[in-house]
Amino acid sequence: MLWAALVSFIIVTVTFVLLSFAPNPSIQEAATQAALQGGDPAAAAERERELRGLNEPLHIRYMDFLQSVYTLDWGWSQYRSQPVTEAVYEGLYYTAQYSVPWTILTLVLGPLVGLYSAANMYSWKDHAATGFAFFGYAIPNFFFAIILLLVFAVWLEWIPVVYNANAAVFSLENVRQLILPVFVLVTGSIGGIMRVSRNESAEFQNSEFMKTARAKGVSPIRAYLYHVLRPTMVPLSTTIVGQLLALFLGSSLLVEIVFGIPGLGRITYEALVAQDTNLVLGTTLFFTFIAVVGNLLEDIVFTVLDPRISYDDR
């Protein structure tokens, strides 16, 4: 817990350092504006600096920055003409709609398919699953998304090309338009989890305690679910969160852009293009906190899953 707080603090500090050593685009903009309108660019820049409190000493600006970050006072988004927190919230609404099914599917399917693969090791089923896993994490998500969109939306016309932001969350239309993004992300995230799950399960299914379980008369299904899957979840828990986060932070941005989903990723991208500093900061900080919370969750889950690690040791 303390660790997560510390990491988030470090990241916020790095962000501040990056910001304070950079030429602020809004000052330049103000100067350019002034020059264009025949005013004094230097004076305009100065006015802008004062307005933004940039003449304060560094440590006071740092404290202000910290305060506003942690009190969720993330400023005003010029590009969207709304508070940054509101923009993030709106984006989250759309991001969650595909992230939740994607995460659930990955969490359920990944370990199970890996287990199935291990149980049928070196059979054609295992090879098929392994091939799928490799395909999934080798194909760039955005590329896969483009291809699928081309095939299913443009050529076959099974699904809409344009995302309808007004579709109700639990409607057939929403399901249809979210199938592809969810599919793309699941193929991307499931591969690594399947591989780890397969390799770890393979180790446990040949373990001595598996033999003990069979000697007790445990049925194969119970043996796999209780005696193989359960211990597999321990090392797997360290992979799952990492895999999901990496994808969430990186690929979901591209998937949103390809499919035109107005979620957080797209907002980040548009803010980048529109040079909306507050919004860029807001969304990156939000993603960062997700990452920190994710890592914290991973630690907790790992500790809960493995009885050999006690809380006291940490």
Binding site: F209, T212, A215, V218, H227, P307
Partner: protein, 346 residues
């Protein structure tokens, strides 16, 4: 031993083979043995002689494929090799229980020992959680775990090696089995702990009136626990008999050499020269012939020699005991060795 009642377990012509890249591997090659209720039978032999595979073939614990088990295993009048997988699962852990060599690895590190002990009850009976818990705590207490009720919820890593094996025994006994198969249960333990575990098994055997099939390569352990022993080598039975008979008058050269390896019994410290024959391509004749100091040409021809009874209950598979050979050549020079009565009889 009461010969007029059926034995608890009767294994006949048990043969276990594995399909490997290097051809068919014969781990157990047609062995017979039986165990009566309340009796302890030891299977003795060096590592790789097929003891473990033999015991795991009884309830078909060996993975098949790649293993193929043939022959017959009659338990309480039922042939286990004919039984369905479902029926076998009912028997495993309830009628026939197993203890394995390495208690460190034989327990699942993710579950409390209590959960693992009661698992067999959950599967085989409809005992309530409270009943199962009470029974497990009682058993933990019986196998000598102090504060059993508080240790019920502890995890395997919180127990020492000897304690783990005690827990494993409790786990095996929870279904009140008629037969306990213990596969080198003391090998991984300290010598002092070994003694305690053997004593515990002995006590529990009387209490539960179970047959024990005990596998070991350690003749010292055999002396402590066995009623009868079966000496195995390279998948075949070399000799069998009452533990005192076999220890006092080992008939087979292999048994004799095994006994010589025991510390304090002779000045031979080199062990038995040579190594086990290839299980994919076993030699003709007696399996032990290539390493036997008495081997003659006939030893390396045909199949494993027929078993010949040298005295009541003691039988040996060696060419020298067949008719027309002089058994005195191989008989142990333990002094008062009586002449073999096996020659000529069938």
């Amino acid at each position: 031993m009461t010969p007029d009642t059926d034995p608890l377990l009767e294994v006949a012509n048990l043969r276990t083979t594995f399909d490997t890249d290097g051809g068919e591997l014969v781990a157990v090659d047609g062995i017979d043995f039986s165990i009566d209720a309340g009796e302890t039978v030891c299977i003795v032999g060096e590592s790789g002689s097929g003891k473990t595979v033999a015991t795991e073939s009884i309830t078909r614990l060996v993975k098949s494929p790649p293993a193929t088990v043939t022959g017959s295993v009659r338990f309480d009048g039922e042939d286990l090799l004919e039984a369905s997988e479902e029926r076998l699962r009912e028997i495993r852990g309830y009628n026939i229980a197993h203890i394995f060599q390495n208690p460190q690895e034989a327990m699942n590190h993710c579950y409390s020992v209590g959960w693992q002990i009661t698992e067999a009850l959950t599967i085989h009976t409809d005992a309530s959680q409270e009943e199962a818990r009470a029974k497990a705590i009682d058993l933990l207490d019986r196998v000598g775990i102090a504060n059993a009720s508080s240790r019920f919820d502890d995890y395997p890593h919180e127990f020492s090696g000897g304690q783990k094996q005690r827990v494993m025994i409790a786990m095996a006994l929870v279904g009140d089995p008629d037969l306990l198969i213990a596969d080198e249960p003391t090998t991984a333990l300290d010598v002092t702990v070994q003694g305690q575990i053997l004593k515990l098994l002995d006590d529990l055997q009387e209490e539960f009136d179970m047959g024990i099939l005990f596998v070991t390569h350690d003749l010292g352990v055999v002396a402590q626990i066995a009623d009868r022993i079966v000496v195995m080598y390279a998948g075949k039975v070399m000799e069998r008999g009452d533990v005192y008979d076999v220890f006092d008058r080992p008939a087979h050269p292999y048994t004799q050499q095994l006994l010589e390896c025991l510390p304090g019994t002779s000045d031979s410290i080199g062990g038995i020269p040579g190594s086990l024959p290839s299980p994919t391509d076993p030699p003709d004749g007696c399996r032990f012939a290539p390493r036997c100091e008495h081997a003659v040409a006939d030893c390396e021809a045909g199949g494993q020699p027929r078993e010949v009874e040298v005295r009541p209950g003691q039988a040996v598979s060696c060419v020298y005991y067949q008719s027309g050979y002089d058994a005195s050549v191989v008989e142990a020079d333990t002094g008062d060795a009586e002449t073999s009565r096996g020659v000529g009889d069938d």
